[in-house]
């Protein structure tokens, strides 16, 4: 149950952010990401956002050139995860102002911190955008 990993991948299939909440070796991660990216990027807009892969369910959503992929357990609520992805994007949007791939590339740590504020060990802890962003704003001020 809960979130197993969060991946941000661009249109070319390059990983832009990877956060795992369960331990996988680097080789397993490389294989998993390769397979998932191949599966999800081949799908189009008219197709649903859920893909089953190995023992995971991948819930994904595309925003401009970025794919947000979340791996969850099989009995997780798919629609709730979609809402979570949307919340993540909105939060990033609010912080970066119309977030794009470059923002995440050049502020990877910050993106990780935002995710840390929202998800802890695969469990969603915070869903209020201002609560998520207030520690980040503190960081920006140098605290």
């Amino acid at each position: 149950m809960g979130i197993r990993f969060v991946l941000l991948v661009n249109k070319q299939g390059q990983t832009r952010l990877a956060q795992y909440y369960e331990y996988l070796t680097l080789e397993e991660r490389r294989a998993l990401e390769g397979e998932i990216v191949r599966k999800c990027l081949a799908r189009n807009e008219q197709q649903c956002s859920f893909v089953e892969h190995r023992n995971y369910k991948i819930v994904y959503r595309r925003y401009a050139s970025l794919f947000f992929l979340v791996g969850v357990d099989n009995d997780e609520n798919e629609l709730a995860i979609l809402e979570f992805i949307h919340l993540l994007v909105e939060t990033m949007d609010r912080h970066f102002g119309n977030v794009c791939e470059l923002d995440i590339m050049f502020h990877l740590e910050k993106a990780h911190f935002m995710l840390e504020e929202m998800v802890m060990n695969g469990c969603i802890v915070e869903t209020s955008k201002s609560n998520i962003l207030s520690p980040i704003q503190l960081m920006d001020k140098g605290f």
């Binding site: 832009r16 680097l26 649903c48 050049f106 990877l108 969603i124 802890v125 960081m139």
Partner: protein, 942 residues
Amino acid sequence: MAADASTVGSSASSSGGFAPFLVDSLFQRSLDDMIKALRSAPGGESSLIHRLLAEIRREIRSTDSDTKFLALQKLTYLSSLYFLDMSWAAFHALELLPSSVPAFKRTAYLSASLSFHPSSTDLLPLATHQIRKDLQSPNPSLSSPALHLLALSSSPDLALHLSNDLLSLLSSPRAAVHVRCRAVITSLPVLRLTPDSARTFLPKLVEALSPSSPLLSAAAGIFCELVCSGDPRPYLPLAPDFHQVLLECRNNWILIKILKIFARLILLEPRLKRKLVDPICELMRRSPAKSLVFECLRVVFCSFPDEETAFQLAVEKVKEFIAADDDPNLRFLGLHALAMLQPGQSWAVEENREAIVKSLADPDPNIRHEALRLIMNMVFENNVVEISSLLINYALRSDPEFSNEILDAILVTCSRNFYELVLDFDWYVSLLAEMVRNPHFMKGEEVERQLIDIGMRVKEARSELIRVARVLLIDPALLENQFLHRVLSAAAWISGEYIQFSRNPLEIVEALLQPRTSLLPSPVRAVYIQAVFKIVTFCFNFFVNAGVLSDSKCNIDENTGAESEDSSDVTTFKMESLELKKLLTSKSIIHILNLIVTALVPLSECNEVEVQERACNVLGLVLLLNGIEWKTDDVDWRIDGKIREIVTIMSSAFSEELGPVSMHAQKRVLVPEGLELKENLSDLDEILRNNDVPSSLSISFSSRIHSHNEDKEESEPATESTSLLAEHRKQHELYYLPTDKDESGSNEHPRENDVTNAVSSEKTTNDLLKLTDQSLVSRLTKPAKPRPTVVKLDEGVDLPSSSSKYVREPTGDLLSGAVRDVLFYGDETSPTIQNTLSENYTQRKANETSTISNVDSLLKDSSSPREREIGSSSSRKNKHHSQGKERNRNTRKNETKEEKGNRSSARSSHHHGKHKLKQRVESGDPSLAKAPQTQAIQDFLL
């Protein structure tokens, strides 16, 4: 931020240090520089990364913390996105953890939580002190990264050492709420690593479950995780708390978690349904959040099949989901929800039939897959013909992948449990042949298996099999398609084995020898040549015998193995044999023998031994036949020539019928005396059991099993081989096919079936829809003719079937054991003491019987007052609160009650349902204490 850091780095480094480090920090690449470099070198990334890593390795050893920080930041970036191992840098991350610069500390923690793991990080214990210090810090920006590291990378030792600090953070009212929330979540991995800490943690976590608690969301999350991933039984006493949250909470995330918890608990305590139906219906009606509605649907479909209003409501919601034309997600989930229904509620699937069939044409393959699965679940004996034919036509127009998915679904469904859905095998065999014509066909292996399997198991299907095999073999176009080679192999085998059903064996020989067979892979070619061998033997035998016994009873019966009891059968055979007689003249046989020689002589020098050997066999036979006189029209040679002897021997080699081999045949063979099988090999038992391959498919061409007509055979002048077989059979009767079963089936010759052609011109889904109008309904029509016998072995033995899911009993792991101790017995009583009081224990069990029956009678009395319950939710709230606190006291109260000897032998139906569990308790597993569990929840249920 990265740019800032680099300027800080250069200014700080001027103040001191060694010359090489000075150079490093002066010219150190910033993170931004590195990312820009990576972006501008998309082709040569790997060499660049190599260089960057070399730089980082040097920089990270710097005594200057700015340089070190930047190096670590770059390394973390590279490692998380380019799959680079950074375990070698664990020490440097640890070095930065105590830094007083917040940015350094954050990066160090991030790096550690992304890369540390007890299995690969030996240095983890070194972090203990720093994590403790940060956990105790009042500053959330220090404690929350420390919690993250603890949650993601903890080892049992670390968890043990830090659990007290975590606990004080969890319960400290001074700590910030969001830190306490994180502490609640972190307690889950800590509990898993150190189950003993459940005693101290659980009360705090249960406290956080109250609807007013600010920690509720985190607590719901971890209880959901605990209940769903382990044994849910210990959490049953918390049902009132969960229920309270369900009633009062307005947060969808939390409600979803609570519903998931209840979905598990209902399985253990079905009476919870009564409490849950109303709130869940309310949520389904009112909630605008589809995610929450879907979760309700899931609970209702899986757990409330008998609650009519809830079920109706859920079915309505599913319809809305499926009808969402603009949202593929809802359509998918709607179908997915229908697939959860048990067979008893298939009417709900039926109601959505139209939408399901339409979904077969959905642009999304996942949705099509769900729709197909639903349709296949609706296939019954009476509609299998229509649905399969429709789907096969539909497959013609689908994309290759889905097309094969459809074919696979049909093959699996129809062959399930020895073709139990198939009444008319002629139809099914021609369906298989039709499948092969699909341009995307890729299921060769399965079709091969089924064709041969049907041949062996269903006598009545053999003439149709031969017809189909002939059509397949004759078409030269099919030889090109590599996916069909396996099917052709089956067709060739069938044509050799059941040639007596053919109207024109010579035509088949020609087909088997056509030049384009060189396109076949050699194993299939070998089967082809072997089939030629068998057919030639048959033809020659027929030719020789037909001349002698032309007017009396056809002698072919003996050789074909067909029963002669049925008169209509005999007449058809007589007619066919007349035809055959006209066909098989010495002239045509000479022609065929010449053809064989021309085709096979080149193969007698083939590289492949199988092909070579079989070709030589056939050529040898031809040579033998050519060396004897039979080509004249003189009758004498037929009667007592050498030829007759040869023919009898040859045909007797092939006369016994091949049958399916029982899956358990090997197990029935008695172990010979003096053979030690088990000595030192008992360890292998487990492995062997897992690898038990169903052997019913394995056909042995060498050992022919004599299956029937035994008496007849014995009265005939038996050849050496058959008499040996008969003797063998007498000795080992057990391993042979049952003789009576084969003959008990009806011999009525099945009619030609034309259903398959009826719908071949359909083009659109709408037509498909119209045609399925009736077909999905389970109608009870009487089959037009009796179903032919399918030879099954091992009836009554449990076969490993794909449909029966192996439900695993949740095993009592350490954590749930610990949780059970806390939630059932309270904190102050030790479970070990409890267990030693076995006398007390049995007494309580007796008491339990009585209390449960009381509960049941009360439940029966209060069957109507559901409305009352809704109205007085506030009063109930108080009641629940007091119950939550008094739970422990209740337990004790009950114990004192039982001392008064309040016993009753009344057994309730509920008790019966729990029978299994009770048996386990009785069979000496005292940790499965059911008694307190029931007591804790009974008041809630009232």
